[in-house]
Structures are given as structure tokens and as C-alpha cells.
Amino acid sequence: MSNALEIKGIAKSYASLRVLEEVTFTVPAGQAIGIVGPNGAGKSTLLSVISGTEKASAGTVLINGRDVTSVGSEDRTRMGIGRTFQIPRPFTNLTVFENALSGATFGAGLKRKAAEDKALEALEIAEMMQYANTPAGQLPLLARKRLELARALATNPSILLLDEIAGGLTEAECDSLVQTISQLRDSGITIVWIEHVVQALTAVVSRLVCLASGTLIADGDPKTVMQSPEVLEVYLGGGIK
């Protein structure tokens, strides 16, 4: 199986603050992996580096074998990277449908009718159809998170980067979300999912990567990773020495 995503020696610094250090891992096409780690571990920054929203200070990012390290986020989206933001960034004055249409038109590169159909499909998958004509600025927080998913899906991604979209959901909503993401995985989309709701994550992914203080400390099947001494130390006390 070819690799959809290859992260090689990624580092990211803001002035003297090192947020990511020598992070390396690969994701085979069609695999769903989860990224865990305490707050401030650098998970969202890593997702931003993969999507091109942030530039890496060092290292390379390869999408389907192509080096995209110097490629901007808009071009990475057109190459098949879809992402959600941990703090939703809706286009507040556009309707929910138009938010998705934006992704379908530019990210997926579809013409008018095809783009509209794609946007409608994305809204249905994300269970946002009822809000189609609502200005995104009027949505409650959870619906905004769903909109993030809908917009990312509208770009027709082959790699989907999800950043804490299960946070704050009820158990029933979380189950529904797990089902949706499982279906996306089964349809062949490669998924990289950052999540604190570990039960939701492990229901979907076949592999976990754990970051702590910007460093990758574990990578493997979910059970092994969650029981590894390094991960337990990070989550249950002591921190990284």
C-alpha cells in the first residue's frame, strides 16, 4: 500500500519556542490514524503544518509521494488535503450551504451544478442539511464543528485532517460522528484525527500516534500506545523528563 502522507523530521518553532521537534511518521493510503497527547503537545500545529496553514521550520511533508513542503495551503487543498479547525472558522456571513459550496467550487474544482451537488452531499454526510440556509454566524458551537466537517468534505479530500471535532458532543452525537467517520474511512479516505475523546478515536482508527512537548513518543496500535509507559506518564503524571 502506498503512503498517502509522509512526515519527515518536521520541526516548528515560534521565535525561541520549539513546538514540534523531529516528528516523523507515515500514513498509508486509506488508513485512519489518531493523534493524541496533552494540551500544548503540538498536535494542532502538526495538522497545520500538514495542511500548509503553517510553514514547517524544518523537515518535509509528502502527499502521495510528492514533496509539498513549500506548497501553500490552497494548493494542498486542491491536491486533496481537507481539514477542520479546532476552533471553528466559519464564513459567518455566508449560509451553511454557501460555506460548503466554497469548498466544492475551489477545493474540489467543480463547476456550478456539480459543485452544488457536492456541497449538498457534504452537508448531508455531516448532518447539516437542516441548517443549509442559515447564516453560519448564527450557528451554535456544535453545529459550527459539524460545518467544519462539511466544508472539509466538500473539497473532495483524499486525506482528511480532523481537529477535535468530537469535543462537547453528547454520547449519542458522538456515536453518530464515529459512524460517519468510519464510513468515510471505509470509502477510502485517509484520515488523521486529533481527539481527546479517546473512545471515539479508537472506535475508528487502527493506529495511534502520541505527541508530548512536540516530540513523537509512541506510534502503534491503539491499545499498545495507550498502555505504553511513556504515554501513561504523560497522561497520568510526571510529564516528560
Binding site: 495542511s51 487543498t77 479547525f85 474544482g109 449538498l120 442539511m129
Partner: protein
């Protein structure tokens, strides 16, 4: 994961309403075009000002209201458009055609300027555009052929004042019509969705695959051309430029901001309403001198406090009504499917 959604829903682009608006607009335009044969010259002469004010407000709104670029330096292009008339008039072109040619030339000048301006964000962008306008004025007054710092008159012009007014009126009307129609069609196109996405969140817009800088650059250049055309009209009506300090004055930006904010930013109708309000106030109260400026300021403050969406924005919000239909509405094709109302 596929679905048969297109069979369950349709997306309304308000095409029928757009056609009706287009026909009514064309009728209004035709009436305005023959108005000089109906009304006295002093009336149509005043309308020239209204037309260029609407053009200025519409293009500034496109820039700030739809693309999120709050410029206080559009006077650079107003001034260049006005001075461009001298350049092309001296080259043998009639002053009316010079307005259009100068507008295109200013668009070409604005293109490289955008690379400098786009390095700045938010408030810095606003101040940066003002600095660019000041620098442009300083450069223009270096040229003796353009009157240096003294201003200049148009040399080759229509002798008969009535015809001069008539031709200026038609050019001003055409530019206003073009500004409104171009904005309307631009917002109904895919570029309109891109622009509004950029305005609401630039980072997310990039994540949607939108070429942010390229899209903003198109609008920046179009807005510069609109301002230049308006500057050309100001020059035609004044038979020249009285003073470079006036034509490159920041007052123009202040008035554009005033018109757009009191009318309703981010709507097509708002700047038109705002320009009409400003035009009427200017027409009836400008002889009050300093107090007129105080009244303008107080009005702007009151509207910002009590009608923060602007006059048209408030009407549109309360009655869910738009004259110019832009955007999309998803409609279920079966009565069993219900969508939340706005």
C-alpha cells in the same frame, strides 16, 4: 459515499428575480440617459455628482465590504484618474474617452501597487494605502506638464457648455451603471463566494482552496479602476484639477466610508442609498460650512449606534429583502423535508 440529493433539493440562484431586476435597471438607466432632454442642465449637472458618488461608494464597498480590504487610500486612484485625462488629452484623445483609457491605465498601475499593499494587514493595510496615496500625490506634482503643485485645466474640451455637460453626464452615468452591474454579476459568480469567504476568514478560505492573494488582487485593481473613472468625472466636471491636494485628499476616502457605512456595508444597495443620502445632504446643507461637517459626523455616529448595519442593511435584515439577488437558497422538492428558516 454518494447520495441522490440533487433529486431531493434544488438550489435557487434567484435567476428570475435577477432578470426582472436587470430589466427594471435597464429601464431606469434608459430614463436617466434621456433625462438631460427632460430636466434643466443644473439638475443633470448635479446628478453627475450623484453618479460618481455612487461609483465611488460601490467600488469601495466591493473592496472593503466584500473583500475585507479597508482602504483609506482610494484617493490615489481618484487623483491618477483625474490626471490621466491630461495625459491622454495631451496625446490627442478627447477628454471623455480619456476617462476610460485613464481608468484602464490606473488599473495597470494598481496591479504592482497591490504587491506592496498586500504585505500589510488590517489597520496597517489601511494606513499603508493612505501612505501610497500621499506618495502618489508627491510623484504627480513633480511633473511640470501636469501643472506641478498648482493644478491644471483640460486644454482640449467641448466648447459648448451644454454639450460638455451632456457628454460628461453620459460618461458618468455609464460608469455608474458599469460599476453596479459589474458588482452584481461579480457577486453572483464564483468569485463572489470566494471574496466573501476571504472577507470572513482568510485562513479558512485558503483551506477551501481559494487563491486568496489572486482574488484580492482582482478586486483591488477593479476598485482602483472604478475610483479612477470617478476621478476622471470629477476632473471633467471641474474642467480640470483645481489642486492636487484636493483630488488626492483623504476626504474622498472619508466620504466613501461614510456613504458605505450609513447605507449598509456588504450589500449592493447600501452604498447606493448611502451615496443618495450624502448627495442630498451635500446638495442642501453644504453651504452651512463647518457645521455641515459636524452634522455629517453626528449622523454617522448616530447611524453606527442605532443602525449598525446601515440604513439599507437594517431594512434588508428586518424584512429579509434584497433588491439585487445574490447568494443561493436550498429548497427541498418534497413537502416532508424541512429546513430551518434564517
Amino acid at each position: 459515499m454518494t447520495s441522490q440529493l440533487s433529486a431531493d433539493y434544488k438550489v435557487d440562484h434567484f435567476q428570475k428575480k435577477a432578470t426582472v431586476v436587470g430589466l427594471v435597471g435597464a429601464a431606469v438607466f434608459l430614463f436617466a440617459a434621456v433625462a438631460p432632454y427632460i430636466f434643466a442642465t443644473d439638475v443633470t449637472s448635479a446628478w453627475i455628482k450623484l453618479f460618481y458618488l455612487i461609483s465611488l461608494a460601490t467600488t469601495w464597498n466591493l473592496l472593503a465590504g466584500y473583500a475585507g480590504m479597508v482602504s483609506v487610500g482610494q484617493q490615489a486612484y481618484i487623483g491618477l484618474g483625474a490626471y490621466g485625462i491630461f495625459v491622454f488629452n495631451d496625446m490627442g484623445l478627447d477628454p471623455y474617452s480619456s476617462v476610460l483609457v485613464a481608468s484602464v491605465a490606473v488599473g495597470i498601475i494598481a496591479f504592482p501597487i497591490s504587491y506592496v499593499a498586500f504585505r500589510l494587514r488590517g489597520g496597517y493595510f489601511a494606513i499603508g494605502t493612505w501612505v501610497i496615496a500621499e506618495a502618489t500625490r508627491q510623484i504627480v506634482i513633480r511633473f511640470d506638464s501636469l501643472g506641478s503643485g498648482r493644478g491644471r485645466s483640460i486644454t482640449t474640451y467641448t466648447e459648448d457648455a451644454i454639450y460638455r455637460n451632456l457628454f460628461t453626464y453620459w460618461v458618468a452615468l455609464a460608469i455608474m451603471g458599469l460599476a453596479i452591474v459589474a458588482t452584481f454579476y461579480l457577486l453572483r459568480s464564483r468569485l463572489g463566494v470566494a471574496l466573501q469567504s476571504i472577507r470572513d476568514n482568510e485562513v479558512a478560505a485558503k483551506s477551501m482552496g481559494i487563491k486568496v492573494s489572486q482574488t484580492k488582487r482582482i478586486v483591488f485593481v477593479v476598485a482602483a479602476m472604478g475610483a479612477a473613472a470617478a476621478g476622471g468625472i470629477i476632473c471633467l466636471q471641474g474642467l480640470g484639477v483645481a489642486s492636487p491636494n484636493t483630488i488626492f485628499g483623504v476626504n474622498y476616502s472619508a466620504f466613501m466610508i461614510f456613504m458605505v457605512l450609513i447605507g449598509g456595508i456588504g450589500t449592493i444597495e447600501g452604498p447606493i442609498i448611502g451615496a443618495i443620502i450624502y448627495f442630498l445632504m451635500d446638495y442642501y446643507f453644504s453651504q452651512m460650512g463647518l457645521w455641515y461637517m459636524v452634522v455629517l459626523g453626528v449622523l454617522a455616529i448616530l447611524i453606527m449606534l442605532f443602525l449598525p448595519r446601515g440604513v439599507w442593511g437594517e431594512i434588508s435584515h428586518r424584512f429579509n429583502f434584497k433588491v439585487f439577488p445574490v447568494g443561493h437558497q436550498v429548497q427541498p422538492l418534497f413537502p416532508g423535508i424541512k429546513l430551518k428558516k434564517k
